[in-house]
């Protein structure tokens, strides 16, 4: 067994909580392994030192002040509303105010929005895509009353008079570009 696996038993060996067979096994290894003997010695020294490294006592004046400070803080918290302390209100009134009122408000808004959008079916206009809106706009723009001379149009925009229809289609297709 490699040394690393014996090191795991050091803690229990120091605490004298190994069973006899484990203890014998470890002690036999320690007899032949100076590295492990040294490591065990260091671990014992470290533990003794850690146990003796007590916390400095800040003094009775501090302890008395600490107690009164903690008690006054907890008295203050009894006067603070529980919501500010991070508690949820468990009373029926608290549950109604926390959950039911927002739920009721959102339900009313939902019903109101449905009734407005349904309204009179005769008033309902079809929903157009952006591309269709452009086509409609172009058709109105170039309707009979507003029609401009294709030659004049192509002279302004460039290209041949035959491409007028294609340009119009292009205008309509702009709406499809994302």
């Amino acid at each position: 067994m490699p040394c690393r696996q014996y090191e795991i038993y050091f803690d229990d060996y120091i605490a004298d909580s190994l069973n006899d067979s484990q203890k014998n096994l470890l002690e036999k290894h320690l007899e032949i392994c100076p590295d492990c003997r040294n490591a065990l010695k260091e671990e014992k020294e470290l533990l003794t030192l850690l146990k003796s490294s007590g916390t400095p006592d800040p003094g009775e004046t501090y302890w008395a002040g600490l107690e009164s400070s903690i008690l006054s803080k907890t008295i203050d918290r009894e006067t603070i509303p529980s919501e500010q302390q991070g508690f949820e209100e468990k009373t029926p009134v608290g549950i109604i105010s926390r959950y039911l009122i927002p739920l009721a408000a959102s339900f009313i808004l939902f019903v109101a929005s449905i009734s407005v959008s349904v309204g009179n079916p005769a008033d309902k206009s079809p929903v157009l895509s952006q591309g269709e809106e452009y086509k409609l706009y172009a058709a109105e723009k170039f309707s009979d009353e507003n029609r401009i001379n294709p030659e004049l149009f192509t002279s302004i925009m460039g290209g041949s008079p035959g491409s007028f229809g294609r340009n119009l289609a292009l205008i309509g297709s702009f709406g499809d570009i994302k």
Partner: protein
């Protein structure tokens, strides 16, 4: 935990402020000591101690079983200590950069520990030990503080930390190896 303490804890859960005051009196030094060992200074230990008792007061309704009072209290204290350590991680100095920890203390240690009854008075030595402990990662530091310094059993440490005992053993083994290495360096 004695029956008297269990009775106190039950009264505290039921909202008795006198019982709470009594528990503060009994446990304040334990909480302060763990916090001091974890954080290494009085101001932080004081803050952790006060906040721990305020938090357990607020959360007393969560304490269903009186037997878990000590573990619950220490868990609040150690979690808050770890929070403080993590908030300050940005100021962390790697161990290899801090040569003061690696002072030649091994011979000094051997000399002192041969006399366990004699009170060790070397303040400088303890400061180096504390600095070395404070260089450990928070969970390993907590294991060493609770088990090796404060004397809690492995089962108690596992309950406080909310992990299996095997993890406690593993943390202890790694942490002690690091401490031995750091403190014995340059000997």
């Amino acid at each position: 935990m004695s029956d008297e303490t269990k009775d106190l804890v039950q009264r505290f859960i039921d909202g008795d402020r006198k019982a709470f005051a009594e528990l503060v009196g009994r446990y304040k030094k334990r909480v302060y000591s763990v916090a001091y060992q974890m954080l290494g200074n009085h101001l932080d230990a004081d803050e952790v101690t006060q906040e721990t008792f305020v938090r357990i007061y607020d959360r007393r309704h969560l304490l269903r079983n009186v037997n878990y009072f000590t573990s619950f209290l220490m868990r609040i204290a150690t979690n808050y200590s770890i929070d403080i350590i993590r908030w300050r991680q940005k100021d962390f100095v790697p161990i290899d950069d801090d040569q003061s920890v690696a002072a030649p203390v091994k011979a000094e240690l051997a000399d002192k520990t041969e006399m366990p009854d004699k009170q060790i008075e070397n303040k400088d030595l303890f400061e180096r030990i504390n600095r070395a402990v404070n260089k450990l990662p928070p969970r390993q530091r907590l294991t060493v503080v609770l088990h090796d310094i404060e004397g809690y059993s492995k089962a108690e440490v596992a309950t406080i930390m909310g992990c299996p005992q095997a993890t406690v053993r593993s943390n202890l083994h790694i942490a002690r190896s690091k401490l031995r290495k750091w403190l014995a360096k340059k000997v």
